[in-house]
Amino acid sequence: MERDPRVCVMGEDVGHYGGSYKVTKGLATKFGDLRVLDTPIAENSFTGMGIGAAMTGLRPVVEGMNMGFLLLAFNQISNNCGMLHYTSGGQFTIPIVIRGPGGVGRQLGAEHSQRLESYFQSIPGIQMVACSTPYNAKGFMKAAIRSENPVILFEHVLLYNLKERIPDEDYICNLEEAEMVRPGEHVTILTYSRMRYHVMQAAKTLVNKGYDPEVIDIRSLKPFDLYTIGNSVKKTHRVLIVEECMRTGGIGASLIAAITENFNDYLDAPIMCLSSQDVPTPYAGTLEEWTVVQPAQIVAAVEQLCQ
């Protein structure tokens, strides 16, 4: 925001309250009410307003207090945000960033535990990125704001408390690049957002059992970084996808299709995909745990895949 006066933030409680997860803390006092805007609870219209402002050249960052609430703005995101660049014959670009916390939290209930990346992935014209560490969160936020394309940045409710030493200076992460978390030889595990941590936990167990998993955080959900993924598939010949989306129509489903279409000859076994159960997320803690992929399941899947 310091670097570019066109950047503004809009969302519920982003200003004086500092943000429901304190992401925008301190910004309102520093930049004022016209640049950090507290909106009423009207997602459809303030997302629309953000898109309208982006059409004129401003660079708004629109926050959904929970990504699930952006379902109310689906029309604006799909038709206006995604498609205006095309339907206007290239006259308008929409340099908007839509971000917010999503994913399954700790007993937040079904409606507040939604994974919107699977619903948005078909919208033509948008870019989707999921951050997973403080380092890539900062990098992606900056890259997304500077990008001329509309970018949806998926954060995760449970990852806000992560602490990491990151560089003070300005840096950006490439919005379309996956991250090699742990190079390996036996199996490629593709994951993103919070599941990265479950995978890394499973990886410890797997290493103890003698396996050498290659873990890739795909980060770019649309478009997929098929270059990094492809190189990994060519090396290990076995793929396991671990995601927090539902199985039906999720990111994993699209990823399986993309890998099969492009790298079928390099696979020694069918691709396995571990996803959340196709149910509304229960409130009870034990039940909620069962709907989401746990490290033990990941270990079992790798063992099965590597037989």
Partner: protein, 290 residues
């Protein structure tokens, strides 16, 4: 008569390519009369939370004839588009503006190209009044590259960025929050310009409209919401869709104006009320009913 001249002339394609105003002024020396003329509108305005503008409007014959020519051109354009649609040369949807031309022309008379206009899918004439050419209109309607959106948008997606015409939107009501976003950007950049966000009586029942109105009033945005009431929302008559047809009052705390249109003289009406509206816009935004 002016139009048959245009149609029959040998340089037809070049005159189609020229913007409306220059093509017309070359043809008619009579319309050069700048002497002032005062017109009184036939029906008074009704206002809500503000003072109605006066019924007398100052104009001159040249201006009046320009308005007439513009509206007649738009009418002919829309009827031609209708024939093309029936001949299946225009596919998909084709929403025509014949009968409503006075709104576009009258609005344009009071503002500059720096002010923004955004409308729904009935956008052919608004596009022309913002400076679009007939060639761009028909090429877009028929899906050709010479169209304003390179044939990729179609009837419902006309845009003209250089004259601040933001379209051209298919989903009913979705353009209103966009329009308030344009007004926000104008306030942010301290442009001293305004945005006209047009919608129909059908869209007047959309929730996002009230959401956008609330935010605009809260943040003091220079937005003017214009309801073009043609008494039908898609196929349903107004009285069957809206409990209260007094759309100009729906803004509640926002000033509103009801303007009756009957094609020609009432364009004057729009001219005068728009000037009032622009004055009011300094502090607050306005809802206008037509």
């Amino acid at each position: 008569m002016a139009l048959s001249h245009l149609a029959a002339s040998a340089s037809r394609s070049s005159s189609l390519l020229k913007p409306l105003s220059s093509a017309l002024s070359l043809r008619r020396p009579i319309s050069g009369d700048n002497s002032p003329l005062t017109v009184e509108t036939s029906v008074p305005f009704t206002s809500h939370q503000c003072e109605a503008p006066s019924r007398s409007v100052e104009t001159n014959p040249k201006e009046l004839l320009t308005f007439f020519r513009d509206m007649a051109l738009m009418r002919r354009m829309e009827i031609a588009a209708d024939s093309l649609y029936k001949a299946k040369l225009i596919r998909g949807f084709c929403h025509l503006y014949d009968g409503q031309e006075a709104v576009a022309v009258g609005m344009e008379a009071a503002i500059t190209k720096k002010d923004c206009i955004i409308t729904a899918y009935r956008d052919h004439c608004t596009f022309v009044s913002r400076g679009g050419t007939l060639l761009e209109v028909f090429a877009e309607l028929m899906g050709r590259q010479a169209g304003c959106s390179k044939g990729k948008g179609g009837s419902m997606h006309f845009y003209k960025k250089d004259s601040n015409f933001y379209g051209g939107h298919g989903i009913v009501g979705a353009q209103v929050p966009l329009g308030c976003g344009l007004a926000f950007a104008q306030k942010y950049s301290k442009d001293e310009t305004v945005t006209f966000a047009l919608y129909g009586d059908g869209a007047a029942n959309q929730g996002q409209l009230f959401e956008a109105l609330n935010i605009s009033a809260l943040w003091d945005l220079p937005a003017i919401l214009v309801c073009e009431n043609n008494h039908y929302g898609m196929g349903t008559a107004e009285w069957r869709a809206a409990k209260s047809p007094a759309y100009y009052k729906r803004g509640d705390y926002v000033p509103g104006l009801k303007v009756r249109i009957s094609w020609f003289v009432e364009t004057m009406v729009l001219l005068s009320c728009n000037l009032l509206v622009l004055e009011l816009c300094e502090t607050v935004d306005v809802v206008v009913l037509l």
